[in-house]
């Protein structure tokens, strides 16, 4: 880390040039636009984003079904989500995401279950609408406490011309206006998980908001302090360790989108006074809609690490009165000793350690503050499915000369880590074992490597413990056998 900023920029450029050599020329030209080095003062990271992956390069991305069923709808706990199509998509995403919830699974909540129409050849040939109709009846009979059904389309649905909207409307009518939501999140749509988020948001707008009687929950009484947490999927309990801070601030959280979320919370969200948005990428769409249609302002916030939390608490409080502003200061003060103790314990061991990140649509920038609170340095980051507005926002988090890689390929990421030799890599399950075998400590930053929560003050202590544990494990000293040169 004694290299100057200019030296690092040059090293990065050389690294990128090296990596591009491996591609056929036409492809190298296209990939070149997704790789770069951040120049301080620029409005974005200088890379293209949100476009098709090149075929055959080992992109890390998923598809629209993952963005809709996996990310947005799946965590809504009191609805049944049908993976509509062949068995695979639902199977591989069955309980794989740690969007925690409270409930009696199979009875009043259904998150960790796999509901599928298990499409067979005859369904492809003759269509699946009749089957879907029957499926809804079977769900009603066997899972009577479900509060709604969503239909998450897999690739074949859009290709064979099924009319899931007609089935949804028909069954909803038959079932006295039950919430039945068709979602056109077929995997071939868009270029990544991202369009799936958008389609999922639109489906909430069209099939929940626009069809819900505003007086559906007359018992609900508004207060001036009602807020909704938007875009927190409660990974390992993240939304709970965030919610507690908002409540301590004197706010009333009326809804969580969508970790540990319920359909009633979603239906009541238009009554919120403020939407606080954590994952901008996946839920900016519905936030903008609620602002437009219901006049609800929204504010992006960041609960990773004490510096960001402090800033966010004040920013959120600024939307409310002096009582809330004073309470926010109390909350900040209350947790200062815990934060100082965590930093005193872990910063000396982590100071100066370098990190390379590659995550989805928010965390490639959002977690940087938490690392910096521990004295760590993020030297490279990139998004699977970020858009240009994410890369713009990233400029406020990263330092000059940070290596940037959009929709990184397996080949590129391996090469970058091999040359940059960071002390820690933060990415996903498909990357973890590659880098550990190279002797590089690794923490999964989608699933929190089965740990968490990482949001909020309570979460920061766990984050610090885990980053330290990963880097300081004795195993990294054992990778070279003593008899090897």
């Amino acid at each position: 880390m004694t290299a100057t900023v200019e030296e690092r920029k040059a090293t990065n450029k050389a690294l990128i040039d090296e990596v591009l050599k491996a591609y056929p020329e036409k492809m190298a030209k296209r990939r070149a636009k997704h790789l770069g080095t951040f120049e301080e003062g620029k409005p974005d990271c200088g890379v293209k984003s949100n476009i098709k992956s090149l075929p055959g390069v080992m992109t890390i991305r998923g598809c629209a079904y993952a963005g809709s069923k996996g990310v947005v709808w799946g965590p809504i706990k009191d609805m049944v989500h049908i993976s509509h199509g062949p068995v695979g998509c639902g199977q591989y995403s069955w309980a794989a995401r740690r969007n925690y919830y409270i409930g009696t699974t199979g009875i009043d909540t259904f998150v960790t279950m796999q509901f599928t129409s298990d499409f067979q050849e005859k369904d492809i040939v003759f269509g699946g609408d009749k089957k879907l109709d029957k499926i809804i009846d079977e769900i009603q009979e066997l899972f009577p406490l479900n509060k709604g059904i969503s239909i998450q389309s897999e690739c074949p649905i859009g290709l064979i011309g099924d009319d899931i909207e007609a089935v949804s409307k028909k069954k909803s009518k038959e079932l006295d206006g039950k919430t039945i939501v068709p979602v056109r999140c077929e995997g071939f749509r868009g270029v990544s998980q991202s369009l799936g988020h958008h389609l999922a948001n639109d489906a909430i707008r069209d099939w929940v908001f626009d069809r819900t009687d505003p007086n559906k929950h007359p018992e609900f009484v508004s207060t001036p302090y009602d807020v909704a947490i938007i875009g927190d999927y409660n990974i390992g309990g993240d939304a709970w360790s965030s919610r507690i801070l908002l409540e301590e601030m004197g706010l009333r959280v009326i809804s969580q989108w969508s970790g540990d979320g319920t359909i009633a919370e979603i239906e009541n969200t238009p009554k919120a006074k403020l939407n606080v948005l954590h994952c901008y990428r996946s839920m900016n769409y519905i936030s903008r809609h609620m602002e437009e249609k219901y006049g609800i302002p929204w504010v992006e916030y960041n609960f990773f690490g004490p510096s960001m939390i402090e800033k966010s608490l004040r920013e959120i409080a600024a939307h409310f009165d002096d009582t809330i502003k004073a309470k926010a200061e109390e909350v900040i003060a209350k947790y200062k000793p815990l934060m100082q103790a965590v930093i005193d314990k872990y910063k000396p061991r982590l100071e100066g350690k370098t990190v390379m990140l590659y995550i989805g649509g928010l965390r490639p920038r959002h977690v940087i503050g938490a690392y910096e609170d521990l004295g760590m340095v993020v030297v490279g980051t990139g998004y699977e499915f970020g858009h240009n507005d994410d890369y713009q926002r990233t400029t406020h988090y990263i330092k000059d000369a940070t290596l940037i890689y959009d929709d990184v390929t397996g080949y590129e990421f391996e090469h970058f880590v091999d040359k940059v030799k960071p002390d820690l890599v933060g990415s996903g399950i498909k990357e973890k074992y590659v880098f550990q075998k190279m002797g590089v400590p690794f923490r999964q930053m989608h699933s929190w490597d089965y740990s968490g929560p990482y949001h909020g003050y309570d979460g920061f202590a766990i984050f610090a413990r885990d980053m330290d544990m990963a880097i300081s494990s004795p195993v990294w000293g054992l990778t070279k056998a003593p008899w090897k040169a």
Binding site: G56, F115, F119, L142, A264, E265, Y433, D458
Partner: protein, 518 residues
């Protein structure tokens, strides 16, 4: 606050703290859930015979199936060949899912690429994706072979993979002579074992039958070697070691066709190896000339078996034999085919296994088991259970056929411990949940998804089926061979002892039975 820097608590304990208990109870007011009484009454109803009848009357909805789709099996096959890159033609989401599914089980990287077809490819076809995809994959990952399979999308729009590969070669994506075996693997037909079969057939067809009509088919010149095909196996790392050891002890020249045990077991020594081990092209070619092929899992290789037989070999099909008689049969087939005697070492191991079974039989005798998984595997486990005097009361395979079910019934009929046992083809784990309430058993043999059944019915789960995500390194140990039988025995016993100890440690109430010697 409950969090402290000295004693950091995470999701396991944090949310049991009073401030979070309060938070969760405040949240409830916004959920507008059903009443506790209503919830309780439905909970109880799901345990009844009435619910079971309605549950079994389902003909459209699948809930918690115990199967995956074809391309998963195709990726497994590709990883079983030396320096071979798996290439799935179609939507890219699928590939990420296959990779994460295998990686969560093996705790290893799983390489695979997609041709990343998107909406325009749905309209115009995926030719360009194949052309560019093969070129990119070849340049970046430098494989010796690329094995192509397909996702739903490519299948529904009818992409002609054979033609696309040929066009790609014409356009210079890859050299003309570069091996690209392929298979059509539609996810709406069969399951992951069907994909294994189709993909393996694709590889054999490619090498034996003239590489998609681009060269002369090979001519078989029979010799004394034999082939071994393991099938889709979540314990392949431990099992292939055992299989190779067995053939070594016999002194037999064996071509093991499709061996991903190297690819899913590379060391952490500072170097990432994208390719490791696997069946070589020479071995695939040599396999044509073998005297016979042993197919260890019949239902993973139905088409492949027919193909090999048509090429003049004797094919011995087994059903993942586990335990004493099953392994005896396997070894006696090797002996019969090769003329070599059963090695003394293996006979010793047989005796050691029988010895272990005799030592422990009292604890498993009469115990009722529910088991689910792949068809062949279930035949193997059911037979072994009956050797232990245990009862495979419920045997369930979501991807099991009627002929398979008949085979299971015949197995039941062959032993007094099969009396009253039932087989359930094409049922799922929500069906099994009903059975565990209406006809309870002592233990479940299944995969990680069975933990939901354990939670709901308090029936202990033994993880001996793919995938296993929430226990580590089981796949490194065999379940096949006498050694594997011993490992399976210990797993069954450990679960029994854990359950018994757990049930007898209530101080002053039940711990009179908390024996130190069992």
């Amino acid at each position: 606050m409950s969090q402290s820097a000295d004693k950091i608590i995470d999701h396991e304990m944090l949310f049991r703290e009073p401030e979070y208990k309060d938070l969760l109870s405040r949240k409830k007011a916004h959920e507008f859930n059903h009443s506790d009484d209503k919830i309780k009454s439905v909970v109880e109803w799901t345990k009844t015979e009435d619910y079971k009848q309605k549950n079994f009357a389902r003909d459209s909805l699948a809930v918690n199936p115990a199967k995956a789709c074809q391309p998963l099996g195709a990726v497994y096959v590709a990883n079983g060949f030396a320096k071979t890159l798996s290439f799935v033609h179609g939507s890219q989401g699928c590939v990420s899912y296959y990779r994460s599914h295998f990686s969560r089980h093996f705790k290893e990287p799983t390489s695979c690429v997609s041709s990343s077809m998107t909406e325009d490819a749905a309209v115009f076809g995926g030719l360009n994706n194949m052309v560019d995809g093969l070129a990119n994959a070849y340049s970046l990952y430098k494989p010796d072979m690329i094995a192509v399979s397909t996702t739903c999308m490519a299948e529904v729009i009818g992409d002609d993979v054979d033609a696309f590969i040929k066009t790609s070669k014409q356009k210079g994506s890859i050299p003309e002579e570069f091996d690209v075996p392929f298979a059509h693997t539609p996810a709406f037909v069969g399951s992951h074992i069907t994909g294994y079969d189709n993909a393996l057939l694709g590889v054999l067809k490619h090498f034996w039958d003239g590489k998609a009509k681009t060269t002369e088919p090979l001519v078989r010149v029979p010799n004394d070697s034999i082939n071994f095909i393991g099938g889709f196996d979540g314990f392949v790392v431990g099992n292939m070691k055992e299989i190779r050891r067995i053939f070594d002890l016999f002194g037999v020249k064996v071509n093991i066709i499709c061996d991903p045990s190297g690819s899913w077991n590379t060391p952490t020594d500072g170097e990432f190896r994208m390719y490791a081990g696997g069946t070589t092209k020479e071995e695939v070619v040599a396999a044509l000339h073998a005297k016979a092929t042993i197919v260890f899992q019949e239902y993973c290789c139905e088409k492949t078996t027919k193909f090999i037989a048509e090429h003049g070999q004797e094919v011995v099909t087994l059903n993942a034999p586990i335990g004493v008689a099953g392994t005896d049969k396997f070894l006696m087939e090797i002996s019969r085919l090769t003329g070599k005697p059963i090695p003394a070492q293996l006979e010793k191991e047989r005796g050691e296994l029988v010895d272990a079974m005799a030592d422990s039989q009292a604890h498993l005798h009469g115990k009722r088991f529910a088991l689910y998984g792949d068809p062949d595997q279930l035949l193997g486990y059911a037979a072994y259970l009956m050797e232990l005097g245990a009862e495979p009361a419920h045997v369930l395979a979501t991807n099991g056929s009627e002929p398979w079910a008949a085979k299971v019934q015949a197995l039941f009929d062959s032993s007094p411990y099969g009396k009253g046992c039932k087989v359930y083809p094409k049922r799922d784990l929500w069906h099994l949940r009903s059975l565990l309430f209406t006809e309870p058993v002592d233990f479940i043999i299944g995969n990680t998804y069975g933990k939901f059944l354990e939670r709901d019915t308090k029936t202990p789960l033994v993880r001996m089926v793919f995938p296993i995500f929430d226990r580590h390194h089981y796949h490194r140990y065999p379940t096949w061979g006498y050694e594997g039988g011993l490992r399976v025995l210990v797993m069954l016993l450990d679960e029994f002892f854990e359950a018994l100890d757990g049930n007898t440690m209530d101080i002053g109430k039940t711990d009179y039975s908390y024996d130190i010697i069992r």
